[in-house]
Symmetry: none
Subunit: 205 residues, 4 copies
Amino acid sequence: MMNAPPTISTEGAGGRAEAQRERILSAAQRCFIEHGFHAASMADIAVAAQMSAGLMYRYFENKQAIVLAIVERQLEEKRSFIRQLHSAQAFTTGLAEAFKLWRAGDPRVMSPALYLEMSAEATRNPQIAAALRRSDALTRAELQAWLASPRSEGGFGLSQDVAASRALLLRSIVEGLALRAAREPDLDLAPLRSALEDLFARLLA
Amino acid sequence: MMNAPPTISTEGAGGRAEAQRERILSAAQRCFIEHGFHAASMADIAVAAQMSAGLMYRYFENKQAIVLAIVERQLEEKRSFIRQLHSAQAFTTGLAEAFKLWRAGDPRVMSPALYLEMSAEATRNPQIAAALRRSDALTRAELQAWLASPRSEGGFGLSQDVAASRALLLRSIVEGLALRAAREPDLDLAPLRSALEDLFARLLA
Amino acid sequence: MMNAPPTISTEGAGGRAEAQRERILSAAQRCFIEHGFHAASMADIAVAAQMSAGLMYRYFENKQAIVLAIVERQLEEKRSFIRQLHSAQAFTTGLAEAFKLWRAGDPRVMSPALYLEMSAEATRNPQIAAALRRSDALTRAELQAWLASPRSEGGFGLSQDVAASRALLLRSIVEGLALRAAREPDLDLAPLRSALEDLFARLLA
Amino acid sequence: MMNAPPTISTEGAGGRAEAQRERILSAAQRCFIEHGFHAASMADIAVAAQMSAGLMYRYFENKQAIVLAIVERQLEEKRSFIRQLHSAQAFTTGLAEAFKLWRAGDPRVMSPALYLEMSAEATRNPQIAAALRRSDALTRAELQAWLASPRSEGGFGLSQDVAASRALLLRSIVEGLALRAAREPDLDLAPLRSALEDLFARLLA
DNA sequence: CATGAATGAGACTTCATTCAT
DNA sequence: CATGAATGAAGTCTCATTCAT
């Protein structure tokens, strides 16, 4: 007769609750990419997740919680992606690779549209802003460490100062390219690649 | 003998109608920056513009028209800003200058937050996408022409191909920096400046 | 400096005020026919009358007053039309004639669409209902007098009772045809004519 | 395994959804009769239906859909009513009977006020116009078939041509009477009856 | 006399969220 | 656990009417 308290046992990664959360997030991601955080309604997400709207409230306190979870997930993916770029050749190739996957609509890569949406939203939503800041700090540190590490370990042996400023620049470039990808999905990759290779040759030589 | 039909005479730049439009756009810009296109309501804008919500519809067909007008205005400002960067020293200095103005909340410079909002919205709104595309084409052409022009005219004498790929890269960098500005408004400018100067020295030497 | 009291000298039929009223009514009639009483806005009427919306309030207290004036005018036209039918041949011919004029969009004949609109509105607007009732009473009396007048005077010499019930029927038929005209503007007139001639031959023989 | 997408199962005639639709339509009908299609607001209907305004949008896409549903329902009732008139005595009696029911406010009979409203609206709303046209065609065919059927089957054995023109006339008369009913709800029925009996005697003898 | 800018109420519609079943 | 009916607030937009100019 009375509702049991919503004791959703998180019970590890394989639990049913986790699967449901995953389903909701996957659906939400698709909706957010297509319509944006505001225009995507809970009803849209429920349809995409093939469950009732009410049920989603068992797994997420409200829409904002879903948005935040999506943001966190995307940031994690972004960091792991940037980590993969750690090697001079991979940087250019990796960016081009990701570009192609985006175009193909692969949901595992971070969607540039979603990245824009998150960034825009962060200018007004403190929770999202905090998440981005945390992720930024991690990325910055990793990039800087890579650039400062000795060449024998795949790095470039830059001083901490130079590494820091180069890291800032690299991140801006990657983000700028993401923005461009969102805006010009059928961009010709060849000139971009050659420009990037040139850039890295000069910047990290 | 017969009166003009009750429409709003646009009557040049000094007209009252134009002043009202300006008031609305200025208010809308503030609201859009603060809350985003979706979350800023017509009522919010009306309060900011100190007029009734209904009146705004004499000057703009609907909210979307206001959004579009803001977008066009911002794009024009962005282009004129990029044009000012045309000179190697100015590029770095100009970027840093703009950064400072943004921080100070100067409404004449393009707001990075608004730029993000526009870019995100463009992924779903065809009219905004078209406006960005048009503006992009202009910017690209101008940048490329600059890079390809002879050094005697302040350019770099690059071949068209190289100029094109460099222009693409430069735009991505500028946009990436805008994104960063939106996200990290109190970023330390010194490392950024040195990185940029370094970049230009190597890229456009 | 202060507005003079709105002393609109009615000054006979040729006054300027009367001309303005006429212009407004003519415009309103077109708008009401096209959009109905509710959907036609004061702004629509102002455009059609080629004057400002505010000016109309100098000649009519409010929209409702315009509606009422239109109704009265239409009713007068309807009565004069029915009066013209007074003669057995003219009845059929006159109806068919009116039908053709309606189709041609002649504004002097009563619009069936407007007649419907008025009738519908009368079921909820007491002022319009009263106007229709007054007009109805006149029409009824005229028709009945005609039917009861001796044949030597162009009538049918019916008893008052029979004349009354026949008048009721005739009016219903005319109204029914108006309704049909509104609904089926490209109705084939031939069968209708033959049916009407037949009807009158049998009913008023 | 997977739940159905959250739509409203129409599930036959006994479903809850159907009951709700019915409730809304019944409320809407009352409101439309009292205030007309335009003046009756969704809020009015919601109050009459004793539910929130928002809920109605689960059952009808928009106000226009409600209007259309009402129109269709009324037309169906009108056709079934006219079908009942098929027999010379019933025609007169049936009309008088309906007249009395209207007066009593019986919601099962078609409301003359609503009929007027529909007809007026049809002159500008293509969907309503189409519905009326469809219904008209059915009524016309049924009436004509009745008049042309042999007397042994309750008809009048008229030729198709004559039957067609008589059917047109009969419909106009019925509609004219409906209009009259709307306008003069306390009309004395006796003279009308005698006129109608007379008419049928002469027209269908 | 005439304009049309301005207002404010109210219309339709959407949507996050709750809760009885 | 799951549904989806239900609500209420809020959003966009229209329009009759007024009034300073």
